[in-house]
Amino acid sequence: MKPGNPHICEGANSSCVFSSKMREKHRSLFRRERGCFIVRVYISFDYDIERGKSMIRIQNVSKTFTGAQDTVHALQNVNIHVEKGDIFGIVGLSGAGKSTLVRCINRLEEPTQGTILVGGKDVTKLTDKELRTMRKKIGMIFQHFNLLSCRTVAGNIAYPMEIDGVSSRDREERMKELLFLVELEDKMNVYPAQLSGGQKQRVGIARALANHPDVLLCDEATSALDPKTTKAILKLLKQINEKLGLTIVIITHEMEVIKEICTKVAVMEGGEVVEQGWVADVFANPTHDTTKSFVQTVTHEVPAEFFSHQDPTKELLRLSFKGSCAKQPILSQMIRKFDVDANILLGGVDHLQQMIVGNLVVELSGEPDKIVKAVEFLKDHQVQCEVLRL
């Protein structure tokens, strides 16, 4: 290597380049060749190219439990498409079938009907042996953590590598990376019973990531945690998604979780997906009643007394702004143009995955025909308008 002659000395995917082993290599290079500068270039192009590729495709999946007295249709004709790099949220009340659905992905439940493609392979057609190989590439974390109580933190993280036949030296190295990632380096030799809920889930995450999975399934992973710990765990998941390009599927009954980290969402009710799409779209314009009630759990509610009057010169509206139109003064333009008054009752702006979504509840007052025109004007400017009535 000559001075003034830059070249790439390392090219690999980001998780490799940032591993401790690689860094060591650069350091020795630096010591040997004095005057040579190593510039770390962050190009995660492999990740970007891969992004958008299909990761999980659930097609027409149904699951029926046949009991002694009755049959339960836990899933009915579910179609979901998760792309690589997505954080895909599945939200629903308990009994909506979301847990059954996610468990079909690694076949902890056998779907009665339909196909499930993970990375292009149909998991419903795998033999037992192929299924076990596939499961090693699908990490899973659980509501109650499900750690082995007789093993230390290190032992728990080592478990998936042991069953995969990873040598003890490689296990040690991977262990250090994982403990660093989940910030539990000081708890290596501690038993799960001595850990807090958040720490247990961190061990669960490290364990799920041990074999470099393509997908991480989270089955109510934060439901047993307090709000503060929930945020920390979600932040960690987000960080993993960004750093490793890992596809994450999250099952939850809390819309807060979806709002916090998901890029896409599917809403389930009675074993069916009633609505799905980008989180920002679903939040800005929920169409199904279940979705609306979920969205309302994280947005604000209008007090009931505002609904009570029957005055034709007044109209109560919920306006949703999304993206660029949230940045324009559309409301004040409308007021000037149509000679109506707007009384803002509620308002809020949320950041949903780089997308700005504004919500306003306003009471327009003025002549009825002007109000109609004003609403038309808003709609023309891509503002979602919903008339609120009792």
Binding site: L131, R132, M134, R135, K136, L148, I163, D164, Y191
Partner: protein
């Protein structure tokens, strides 16, 4: 308390205590070797467990129940031909190990089954989700997770076998039971009887204490 009694005690007790320990521990070892696989099979072949096999589960369960319904004294006599086949004779301390082990094996199987059933289903599910095969789940998850409970179960088995081993005195087996029957019961030696009983009490207490201690020290829950 006469000098003769003291002499008898010194002559008999150490060797017969050893005989009891020898019979009980050998029988326990054999019973665990037989009962452990049956216990594991009973659990994993259950509905919704890792290897659902209703037929095998039903058959095994029936066999275990049959084994457990024999009163020990009858079992001991009933299997004399089998004992003779195995050890070459039907009398004596070593011969008593055979019926003791056979009586304890179904008991051990149930003890193991109960211990394994205590394990949180979620832990097994997590192991399945990570791609473990059946053998890995048994060896790396089920047995280690249930070990504290299994140790207590085996302690229970040993204590039961101490009781059964006294009955082995009837068919010429050695041990503390023989002392109690031959000297205490047949020769009206109240002193020796009392001493034997006291020793048995101490023995059982000791076994239980050791079992509890081991179980507690390996329990990380």
């Amino acid at each position: 308390m006469t000098a003769e009694n003291i002499k008898l005690m010194i002559n008999l007790l150490p060797i017969e205590t050893w005989n009891t320990i020898y019979m009980v521990l050998s029988a326990t070892l054999i019973a665990v070797l037989m009962g452990l696989p049956i216990g594991i099979l009973l659990v994993i072949s259950e509905k919704n467990h890792i290897r659902e096999m209703p037929l095998i589960n039903g058959i095994l369960s029936f066999i275990v129940n049959v084994g457990r319904s024999f009163p020990f004294i009858i079992l001991m006599i009933a299997i004399i031909p089998f004992t003779r086949f195995i050890v070459g004779k039907s009398l004596g301390t070593t011969a008593a190990i055979v019926p003791l082990a056979i009586a304890a094996a179904p008991f051990v199987a149930r003890v193991i089954e109960t211990s394994l059933k205590e394990i949180d289903k979620g832990i097994i599910e997590a192991a399945v989700s990570m791609g473990s095969n059946t053998w890995q789940i048994i060896v790396k998850v089920l047995l280690p997770e249930a070990l504290p409970s299994i140790v207590l179960g085996i302690t229970l088995t040993i204590v039961n076998l101490v009781g059964y081993s006294a009955m082995a005195g009837v068919m010429g087996g050695g041990g503390l039971g023989k002392v109690a029957i031959q000297y205490g019961y047949q020769r009206y030696n109240g002193f020796l009887m009392t001493i034997t009983v006291i020793e048995l009490i101490i023995l059982v207490q000791l076994i239980q204490w050791i079992g509890n201690y081991i179980s507690k020290s390996i329990n990380k829950k």
